[in-house]
């Protein structure tokens, strides 16, 4: 048995282990023990893979629905992001900023139709050249081969150097125990402990079971596209071929993988 397990890769192993755990407990929603790996989502489909994941945000789709928070709610619910209701303890993975702040270097007076006060969806850019992973003293955050910038919440020592290094303010710190501030815990995903950094993970746990990111799925205007930037036939490539897109702070050389259609 052990030899057989060594032969399968880690992902397959987790799948098997997850399926086994689900089978044992009977119901995936009720963990036997808090530390059981019940966060593994049910194995339903082949994983989505890519050579470089990227997202395209259509700001016009967003503009039609000022005040819409569907994608944010879906993400924060899926990932057990706490809501403390105060800016000091705030944790967020995806949120809306004013255009003038999200694109400070591209804002100007008399920008078309009050654009400056419109809201822009922002999240971790999953940079191709991420400054946050470079500074981490424990490699608790790293870039996966498919471009997803990952976090290991069990290795993070909470030095917050990555927060200082991120030019997009995409990272949050757990200033206190997040669990009491989660309205309803989603058992398929781990909660965090106090003292570690967290951020958007491009829904790597959903990609692993063939699902698109929660925000992409939640958008009622289909304003978010997600796909493989290195695949010429992918939807993100099709959009980038036909529409002009911008990225946040391109001058810093971080190569963000979140593109904005204005």
């Amino acid at each position: 048995m052990a030899a057989k397990l060594v032969a399968v890769n880690r992902r397959k192993f987790l799948k098997i282990a997850g399926a086994a755990a689900l089978g044992l407990t009977g119901s995936p929603a009720v963990p036997l023990l808090a530390r059981e790996p019940t966060w593994l989502p049910p194995v339903t489909a082949e994983p989505l893979t890519a050579r470089r994941w990227a997202m395209v945000v259509d700001l016009r789709a967003c503009l039609h629905e000022d005040g819409c928070r569907d994608c944010i709610a879906a993400c924060h619910r899926a990932h057990n992001v706490p809501d403390f209701g105060n800016p000091k303890d705030e944790v967020k993975w995806i949120w809306k900023e004013h255009y003038g702040e999200a694109f400070a270097d591209q804002a100007y007076d008399y920008v078309s139709a009050g654009f400056e006060h419109r809201e822009v969806l922002v999240l971790c850019n999953h940079c191709d050249n991420p400054p946050c992973t470079r500074v981490c003293p424990t490699q608790a955050t790293w870039k996966r081969e498919d471009g997803v910038v990952m976090m290991d919440w069990h290795r993070c020592i909470g030095c917050r150097y990555c927060i200082a290094a991120c030019p997009y303010g995409s990272r949050s710190f757990n200033w206190r125990d997040p669990r009491p501030a989660i309205a309803e815990i989603t058992p398929q995903f781990p909660t965090r402990t106090r003292g570690v950094v967290e951020k958007c993970n491009f829904c790597e746990e959903r990609l692993a079971v063939g699902l698109l990111p929660a925000c992409v799925e939640a958008c009622r205007n289909r304003g978010l596209a997600f796909g493989d930037l290195e695949d010429a036939g992918s939807e993100v490539r099709r959009i980038l071929r036909t529409r002009y897109a911008i990225r946040r702070k391109p001058g810093l050389g971080t190569q963000p993988e979140v593109y904005y259609l204005v």
Binding site: P87, K88, D89, E90, V91, E97, G100, E101, A102, A104, P131, R134, V135, C136, P137, T138, Q139, A140, R155, C156, I157, G158, C159, R160, Y161, I163, A164, A165, C166, P167, Y168, G169, S172, F173, N174, W175, R176, D177, T193, R194, G195, V196, V197, L252, G253, T254
Partner: protein, 385 residues
């Protein structure tokens, strides 16, 4: 040798008890921080580093400044420093210990600190900083112990220690350079993104550290029979004078580049510091005080007549230390986060628990320094009866 620290008069024990009380008080609050999390401090999502990291930065400078007595003594054979080298090394040991403690109390998961060694990350400057800091601590422990043991036996120190001492000189420069690199390599923080940060750190270190050493010499002369000698103190005063002039010069260079180039994200930090931004002006009086004190310090120091009088010299040294403490220990770290990369201006004010925990770390440093100085002075048999 350590038994020397266990005998002393009432004043000595009184001071030790005061320090232990300060440490115990802060220690209790640290336990609360462990339980509640770093939310007990004034830090927030936008201002992620504050008082702890700022004290760390200031104290790296104090530690590095020991080189200002070692270099003239060992490389230029400046004999007047013979009696103060050990004070400089002990000050370095105390300061580096506080640096490491300030990093530890700032960690969200201090129990995992060992991960830095388990998963060495040569691309991270923080990794290198811990290596140079611990290396510097080790160098100073070895050097001071070997020299003091030799002095006690009335022998010349062993030959092998000389290259170790010479190594400690560039090593001292490295600790503050690497500490500056933590900040000056971040594209996200325009306020720190300046090549002159490391030279500036060194200049402010070489003025504030020797200032502290002068004050310690003046205090020891009153409390014990130890006399560093007028020549040593005056030479230190000259070092402080030049270092402070260079420091002020470097700061003016920063002003010029930021203000003349007029790049908004560079200018805004200076505006926040000196004028306030969006109604947030908490640091403004501190910054003006720091600048005014720096100017006063320069005026006091460049006058040789004033500098040669211990009272005026002491005042000048206090002025230098307070000015640089405000700059490095209060303002410089926080301002990197204000405004944030998204243009947000967030107020940061350290909380009472945060200040008491910091005070406890300073208490530990003072305790280490007291014990070490007591040992050194007892070994020399220079204490009053």
């Amino acid at each position: 040798m350590f038994e020397k620290a266990l005998s002393g008069d009432r004043r000595y024990w009184g001071w030790i008890i005061v320090l232990l009380a300060v440490i115990a008080t802060g220690g209790r609050f640290y336990l609360r921080q462990l339980e509640y999390g770093l939310g007990i401090t004034g830090l927030s999502r936008d201002v992620a580093w504050g008082f702890y990291i700022a004290q760390f930065t200031f104290l790296v400078g104090v530690a590095a400044s020991a080189v200002m007595v070692l270099l003239p003594y060992y490389l230029h054979d400046f004999k007047a420093f013979a009696r103060v080298t050990i004070l400089g090394e002990f000050l370095a040991i105390s300061a580096v210990t506080m640096c490491v403690m300030f990093i530890l109390v700032d960690l969200g998961q201090p129990a995992r600190a060992v991960n830095i060694m388990l998963y060495p990350s040569p691309r991270s400057i923080l990794f290198w900083d811990l290596i140079v800091l611990n290396g510097y601590l080790l160098l100073n422990v070895v050097i001071s112990r070997v020299s003091l043991a030799a002095e006690r036996k009335g022998e010349a120190p062993p030959l092998w220690i000389k290259p170790v001492i010479v190594l400690s000189i560039p090593w001292a420069v490295s600790i503050h350079t690497v500490t500056a690199f933590i900040y000056s390599g971040l594209a996200a923080r325009p306020f720190w993104l300046t090549a002159i940060l490391a030279p500036r750190f060194l200049a402010s270190a070489f003025s504030s550290g020797p200032s502290l050493l002068i004050l310690l010499c003046l205090i020891l002369r009153r409390l014990s029979n130890f006399d560093a000698g007028k020549e040593a103190v005056q030479k230190l005063a000259v070092i402080v004078t030049y270092a402070m002039l260079v420091n002020v010069f470097f700061v003016l260079m920063e002003f010029f580049t930021a203000l003349y180039s007029d790049i908004p994200e560079h200018v805004e930090h200076f505006r926040y510091l000196y004028l306030g931004l969006e109604g947030h002006a908490e640091l403004v009086p501190w910054m003006w005080a720091s600048s005014a004190l720096a100017l006063l310090a320069v005026l006091l120091l460049v006058s040789r007549r004033l500098r040669e009088q211990p009272a005026w010299l002491a005042l000048a040294c206090i002025t230098v230390i307070v000015s640089i403490w405000i700059e490095k220990g209060l303002v410089m770290v926080v301002t990197g986060f204000v405004p944030s990369p998204l243009g947000k201006v967030t107020t940061y004010v350290p909380t009472v628990p945060e200040l008491l925990i910091s005070l406890a770390v300073y208490g530990c440093g003072a305790l280490i320094l007291t014990l070490l100085y007591k040992i050194a002075l007892s070994v020399r048999g220079e204490l009053r009866a």
